[in-house]
């Protein structure tokens, strides 16, 4: 497949740029933070995005979706990285749709996918239980009991966990922590008895929650797919999630670069523009070169997902790892090259570093994906 985006994908990218510039520019992040927003985004944002069709992009046509593919969705997500726009796009339209589409029954798909595609319900994916991503280290248990499962355990840093209408929870119906076998996925009502949700305040001002499950009764009809074999769907969902986190980080790396390059052409010291100093020129040129590499790894991963390529896990780990590295470089260089003003809250550039780190940490940082890449490569 040629490594270029087609005309329709280009149009989607431009329409995302236009929409975000109008309804969710970077100033919105500050506004939501200063207002102490629970969600991190304006109340009317998600309905508007759903009207644009964004919630339906990954949903198959058979369930009322647009089936527009990962490369298409990637164009939008990259732009949300440039504007740091929080929304249920990631948790619902990407993670929720992918998990359900991978393993749910026809009845579940019909019920849930259409509702997500229409923006009527949102979801959150509850996987990790510790401070580092470890999808096989699941200790939360789901024990069969009559017509129900009883859920016990706790999940940490669930993105959008305190606002979602449905939780998709990975729990153990068999095996031990560390096994990929024995993991099952459940759709859990966050208002059910025994679900305790604590919103945490994080550096990016987005919504994350620690969630405890204490003898929560989950009907058997809420199990997604076969009992005990949920890891495959979970793993595929995490791959998709990581590819889009990489796309978002690409947007962050590019936006911080563009803003900083502009600053180098405006700021004067010693009577000259600081962009005339070779010490800064070389660092900017290196940074630009790294972004070129990033564009390639992200597009490759998204194309692989669209093609159902068996190398997708490897290509996703390359993309996420590389973007963890370069988004760190980008946000650090952005502050350093801005100098003192880059340290001030008044200036927007600081918001980027505060989103880049949690996005990199979520579902595995460089050390996780580098290790996974090497294991998949046989060493």
């Amino acid at each position: 497949m040629a490594m270029v985006i087609n005309e329709e994908q280009q149009m989607l990218k431009e329409s995302a740029q236009g929409f975000l510039a109008e309804f969710a520019p970077i100033g919105e992040v500050r506004k939501q933070r200063d207002a102490g927003s629970e969600t991190g985004y304006a109340d009317n944002l998600w309905p508007q995005m759903a009207d644009m069709g964004w919630a339906a992009i990954l949903v198959p046509e058979a369930y009322g979706g647009l089936e527009f593919g990962h490369v298409g969705m990637g164009q939008i997500v990259e732009q949300t990285g440039r504007t740091l726009t929080a929304s249920p796009l990631f948790s619902s339209a990407i993670l929720g749709v992918t998990a359900i589409n991978h393993c749910a029954s026809e009845a579940q798909k019909t019920e849930l996918l259409g509702a997500i595609a229409g923006g009527e319900i949102t979801t959150a994916l509850a996987v990790d239980e510790k401070i580092h991503h470890a999808p096989t280290q699941i200790r939360t248990t789901a024990t069969a009991s009559g017509q129900c499962y009883l859920l016990n355990g706790s999940k940490r840093y669930v993105a959008d966990g305190s606002t979602a209408d449905k939780l998709i929870v990975a729990a153990r119906t068999g095996g031990d922590a560390g096994d990929s076998q024995g993991i099952s996925l459940f759709v859990v009502d966050p208002t059910a008895a025994g679900v305790d949700i604590q919103r945490t305040e994080m550096v990016d001002c987005r919504n994350y929650a620690n969630i405890n499950f204490n003898n929560v009764e989950v009907p058997k009809s809420a199990l997604l797919g076969e009992e005990g074999s949920g890891f495959q769907a979970l793993s595929a969902t995490l791959d998709v999630g990581n590819a889009f986190l990489a796309a978002e980080l690409l947007g962050i790396a590019q936006q911080t670069f563009d803003v900083t390059l502009q600053y180098l052409k405006e700021r004067k010291q010693f009577g000259v523009l600081i962009g005339s100093f070779q010490a800064l020129q070389h660092r900017a040129a290196h940074w630009w070169s790294e972004i070129e590499l990033c564009k390639s790894v992200v597009l490759k991963a998204l194309q692989a997902l669209d093609a159902g390529d068996t190398k997708s896990p490897l290509l996703v780990s390359i993309a996420k790892a590389k973007l963890c590295e370069v988004s760190e470089l980008a946000t650090n260089e952005a502050i350093q090259m801005h100098g003192g003003i880059g340290m001030t809250d008044e200036y927007d550039i600081g918001f980027y570093i505060k989103r880049a780190r949690p996005a990199a940490m979520l579902f595995g940082d460089y050390s996780y994906h580098g290790d996974r890449f090497a294991l998949l490569s046989g060493y």
Binding site: A285, H286, S289, C294, G370, G378
Partner: protein
């Protein structure tokens, strides 16, 4: 599409019949490459067969026009040929600065007479070319070159010294930059000329490198006669062509960052050499450096692919050759630093059969030149900063 499938099948069949068995292994030693030229001694009968068979089809220069003996293939067909060659690990039949550098410049800027004179022998591997660009006083500042050509009516008399002329002692012709207008601004008075290395007054002297090999020479020009019909393009307008050629050279050298398809990856080599426990190379710190290199290597290969696709589909300009040169050569240096660590003390063996003639340390030392030749990494960063980012 059906035509392309037919082309692929025919190509596959032809390669199957015509690529000799010993030419189906990756090049592991610089002596394995075939450079052609008047003074060339083929390393084997099969090496000769392979070059001649490919040359007869024009496939040593597959995308050059058939009227000069080239393959006449379009971009897609050229890609298919490359893929089919890679499929059977077929070696390059002919490595040539004629094909990589002066040929494309002649196709773009040369007169019809020059094309007819020089392109066919390049394609057939009969004439080997070297590049006379750098001088002792003109390295990164190439346009400051001082070797001069004095106008004598129908010819120039050239005097001066060139340096870093690749394989000048083994080559048949040189493409060379001379200052032909001594009054003009430095970029404006330069001409690109061609001459036979057997012309009286041309004296190449090999330079021994830290790797022990001598791929480069200094070349002295003492009253060398250069015919005016051997000027490429206009007299005094050679800098434009020189820059075009430098772009080609950057792409070529940047390509060193790509590992050969089919050959073992650094990770695989390391796994064999260092051992694997529970799926992981046991030396954890070295493993981390290796996987980081492999990720960057993969990102670079994807970028080379993306840039090619963007150019093909007319999408923007893509990343420039300066970026690929910078990233590719820095990667290649990192790769060989890691190879040295993976091979441990064995990597320090300078000579002898067990070490393949000291291949690892010699190649490692040679890579240090990658980020110097064809414009240093710092020059590439200058080009990116000024031409792409608009930082003055």
């Amino acid at each position: 599409m059906a035509d392309l499938q037919t082309f692929r099948q025919e190509t596959r069949d032809w390669l199957e019949q015509n690529c000799p068995p010993s030419m189906r292994f990756p090049v592991t030693h610089s002596d394995d490459a075939c450079w052609g030229g008047r003074n060339w001694t083929f390393k084997s009968e099969e090496q000769k067969q392979w070059m001649e068979r490919m040359a007869a089809r024009g496939w040593t220069a597959p995308d050059w026009p058939a009227e000069y003996g080239g393959g006449g293939l379009n971009k897609v067909e050229t890609k298919i040929l490359k893929e089919e060659m890679a499929r059977i690990n077929a070696r390059s039949p002919l490595d040539s600065f004629g094909i990589w550098m002066i040929g494309p410049a002649l196709l773009k800027f040369g007169s019809e007479e020059l094309k007819q004179q020089h392109l066919p022998p390049i394609i057939r591997g009969e004439i080997r070319w070297c590049q006379g660009y750098s001088e002792p006083g003109a390295g990164s500042d190439l346009a400051g070159l001082q070797a001069k050509g004095e106008d004598k009516g129908d010819h120039f008399i050239a005097n001066g010294q060139k340096v870093w002329t690749s394989y000048a002692d083994k080559c048949d012709w040189m493409f060379c930059l001379l200052r032909t207008d001594f009054e003009a601004k430095k970029q404006m008075g330069i001409s690109l000329v061609l001459f036979d290395m057997t012309t009286p007054g041309v004296t190449p002297k090999p330079i021994k490198l830290i790797s022990g090999s001598s791929p480069f020479c200094e070349t002295f020009l003492d009253d060398v006669r250069v015919e005016k019909d051997q000027v490429v393009g206009e007299i005094n307008q050679g800098w434009t062509i020189a820059k075009y050629l430098l772009t080609h050279e950057r792409e070529m050298i940047g390509g060193f960052g790509l590992t050969d398809a089919g050959s073992e990856t650094l990770g695989q080599i390391a796994a064999k050499s260092l051992g694997v426990e529970n799926g992981r190379i046991s030396n954890q710190l070295l493993r981390a450096d290796i996987l980081k290199w492999e990720i960057d290597g993969a990102a670079f290969a994807m970028t080379a692919e993306r840039v090619t696709d963007e150019v093909k589909s007319g999408h923007g300009v893509g990343a420039t050759s300066a970026m690929l040169k910078y990233a590719g050569t820095e990667l290649n240096k990192r790769r060989f630093e890691l190879m040295m660590k993976v091979d441990g003390s064995d990597a320090m063996i300078w000579d002898g059969a067990n070490s393949n003639g000291g291949w690892t340390p010699r190649t490692w030392l040679r890579t240090k030149g990658n980020s110097i030749e064809g414009g240093t990494s710092e020059v590439q960063l200058n080009i990116i900063a000024k031409n792409i980012l608009g930082l003055g």
